[in-house]
Subunit: 513 residues, 2 copies
């Protein structure tokens, strides 16, 4: 007969932009998230777990192009229902806020109000993957839906500081900086760049033109403020007005404000004082006569007082007007947690670790479903960033210790070896029997090495007959074999022969070394 | 101007076949999985977390129809790479075994061998949803890849028993039943229905015809064996031979074996004895002269000895030939864990809770990627079933207690209320401040009720001036208001006034009641 033509074998590959997590990578992240969840829970937040799949309609945001609704998300169309038209478009969630919005609308009559919830889990982004950028990653959010009071913001800010400490970041190694979008709105209002005009439907052609110009200018001002850390006060002044020549000699166009307009923006930016009281005083001056600006400063003052009452000192949380995080998206208080310790970047230069979490107040959460504005505020912790910080600090990623390995000298006595492993496990000691081909004992020790085993248990027929067992300290053994001469090594001080009854006690003692 | 036409609001709905999990539903499942993971870890298994997304090529199994590769899975095609042909088909994983196969092949040079891994997480099925059947659900697996020895099977069987107890199922409320596919193969071989002929490429037309007939008969015999619990020994005998008239009077065709052929099958089915030794002896008789059958019985004997050595008595694990679980898929030992306590079904009749976990040996895991057979064995616990069992036993699903709620009598004193909540939390007591509109105090108590709060803290201006606070026992209060007269209720014995300094101590004492 003719030989069957074999089909090509499938490739064993993780899809592009996705990755696998092994052993300690999984358990360390889990341990960190468990500690954060405990803090969220202590603050009265309830767990919520939605499925990974939502209707594209509920996710919303990603529908700029009706023909291809999956820009940015992984989406697919359900099969058509027989006789019922085309199937729904479904998609993987791209964050945990969109599902919260759907849940808050769907169960609005059943959920307590305000509704405090936390959520932790994977989200998916259909983006071009890059180094360290994956298309599935974890988010870890806490939000309060239905609370208009800034007490909700203050609570979440304090909770974030507690969560970072619970995760393992020491006090002094992080700082939560708090700002308020309304303060900047007030500053812009004071210099005649009214936000409202751009958001509301224009009443006349002149309105429309003014609105578009204002929106353009506002965006340009936001982008400029964001450069404060880089170009400093003088640089921002130039960029806000006539423009600036950068280090490379390139001309950068200015926003076109006159000097009188630029001044309040700069006063706002540089208003951080030695303490919150001074900062608030400076901000009050910067917003001038703007009502929304004054409201923003009042809110910050309330938040500062509440944080104080909750025992959050300036070593943990400060009012800082330079926080511009998502100012365009948020409607009130915003905040960002930064890790303040230094690390070396890829070029060996020292730099601060930087942002690991942030959030703020937003009000359009449920509105698109129900038409009713529902105030909401929340925080999102960057799981991978925070885990990287813990590794940087030596608080995670240490070579995890493997199990005690019971080696197999005699294939017919597997039951005896399994009894030993069971005895160790009954004493709470992680243990396993070598399950590969036992013929080559060297392979068993190589396996134990790959498993990062601290101890190997060895018992041949001779030892069994005498009621003893060999216990080999692999950590000490590795040290000796790296440093000692062959003679020293041969004396095997890392291996002891003990009576079988002493197995648990001996292993326990060795593990405690 | 013409009114803008408002777009239709999106529906706030979970996609069909998916569901949301709230509060205790999330934390109870998590607690159960944590306890099981601890058992897996103690046995030397390592966590593995693959992403939810795999290439359809790697998932494999679901490609019967080239035009529509998503039968059974949620699949979509990646965008075409510019100039690089069509994009890959991606899909959500439908179980945790297919990703393990991919990982075992992809990292075969790096992973320890044997590789013990556990995995817990959601999987997705593109199936018609039904009552209690969702399109996303959890799986919880442990597998050993690369171990040919039945010691690996024995270990996993013992680990399953330990995991069930760790989850909360008491000894005596479950039983793990173990069988071996080779034993049945031996019985079939002994009566002339050779498995090999159906699986190998036929060498002649006669072979092909015999093979097809054997496969048909084998499948029919497997289906018949599965009815043993329902129709008993006599019923199976009829079904294996000439056929049977069922209770409704319908004629059911027989498999067509003659009496001599049916006898060994029946002997196999009824070979469970008073103890494993008797069962094994009966099985040895049932397989007659079949080599593969004898091998199967030998393996079961080894497993029985190992389980014994690991302290697994007949109250936890037994050899039971009636386990037919996926016999067609598995290649060696198979096992199933059943919960033996009775529950009432939807019609109020008593029945055993039934199967919550199972597994066995399979050898085609890595072969489709690499061409090399890699022996593997594993267990999968039905997460939802086991959780339902714990609820049935009152070990989960109890109304979870909410946080202590600090009510707001005076809107301007939010900072004070937050300080109280912070003080309680610092003492490890779950607490929150009421964040809704505080105007109507009744709403605050309704909220506390919805949150299942055990205690409400109340402090008006008067109490604040006197340095006292009211602590209201809501659980006792609910009891009293349900039973007591208005006069009794008004005396409010469930509410005490205490000095502010005594807050933590009083709340702690009340919670301990």
């Amino acid at each position: 007969m003719a030989k069957d033509q074999k089909p090509r074998r499938p490739r064993a590959e993780t899809p592009k932009g996705f990755r696998d997590y092994f052993g300690p990578e999984v358990t360390e992240r889990k341990a960190m998230l468990d500690r954060i969840a405990a803090v969220y829970h202590l603050h009265g937040f309830e767990a919520l777990e939605t499925s990974g799949v939502e209707t594209v309609e509920a996710l919303g945001k990603f529908l700029p192009d009706v023909d291809r609704p999956n820009a940015g998300v992984f989406a697919w169309q359900e099969e058509a229902v027989p006789g019922g038209g085309s199937g729904d478009w479904l998609a993987l969630r791209y964050d945990l806020t969109a599902p919260l919005a759907r849940v808050a609308a769907q169960y609005r009559n059943d959920l307590p109000s305000p509704y405090r919830r936390y959520a932790m889990g994977p989200v998916w982004r259909n983006e071009k993957p890059g180094p360290g950028r994956y298309r599935q990653f974890y988010q870890c959010d806490a939000d309060t839906v239905g609370a208009a009071s800034v007490a909700a913001d203050a609570e979440i800010i304090a909770m974030l500081a507690d969560a970072l400490e619970a995760a393992g970041i020491a006090r002094g190694d992080y700082l939560v900086r708090v700002n308020n979008r309304k303060v900047l709105n007030g500053v812009l209002e004071a210099i005649g760049i009214d936000e409202g005009a751009a958001d509301k439907a224009p009443q006349s052609m002149l309105d429309a033109v003014t609105g578009a110009r204002n929106k353009h200018q506002r965006d340009a001002i936001l982008r400029t403020i964001d450069k404060f850390d880089k170009v400093g006060e003088a640089g921002v002044r130039e960029l806000l007005t006539t423009g600036r020549t950068d280090a490379s000699g390139a001309e950068i166009e200015g926003v076109g404000l006159d000097a009188t307009q630029a001044e309040p923006v700069l006063r706002f930016l540089t208003s951080k004082g030695a303490d919150n009281a001074t900062t608030l005083q400076n901000l009050r001056a910067a917003v001038g006569g703007s009502a929304v600006g004054a409201e923003g400063v009042d809110e910050l003052a309330q938040i500062a007082a509440m944080l104080d009452a909750m025992g959050m000192g300036a070593d943990r949380v400060v009012i800082d007007p330079s926080v511009v995080r998502g100012l365009g998206y948020y409607t009130g208080p915003v905040f960002e947690a930064e890790l303040t310790f230094e690390i070396l970047d890829e070029k060996g230069r020292k730099r601060q670790f930087g942002s690991v979490a942030g959030g703020g107040r937003y009000d359009d959460l449920v509105e698109r479903f129900t038409g009713q504005k529902v105030p909401a505020t929340g925080v999102s912790i960057g799981v991978d960033r925070l885990l990287a910080a813990l590794r940087e600090k030596g608080l995670a990623g240490a070579e995890a210790q493997g199990p005690v390995v019971v080696t197999v000298m005699d294939r017919d006595r597997m039951a005896d070896y399994q009894a030993m492993a069971a005895e160790l496990r009954a004493a709470g000691i992680r243990a396993e029997v070598y399950l590969g081909n036992p013929k080559n004992f060297g392979n068993q020790l190589k396996y134990a090495d790959k498993r990062a085993s601290p101890i190997a248990i060895i018992q041949g027929a001779d030892e069994a007959a005498r009621g003893v067992v060999q216990v080999k300290d692999l950590i000490l053994g590795a040290k000796i074999s790296a440093q000692a001469s062959v003679e020293e090594w041969k004396s095997q001080p890392a291996q002891v022969e003990i009576p079988c009854e002493a197995l648990v006690a001996t292993v326990r003692e060795m593990l405690a070394r």
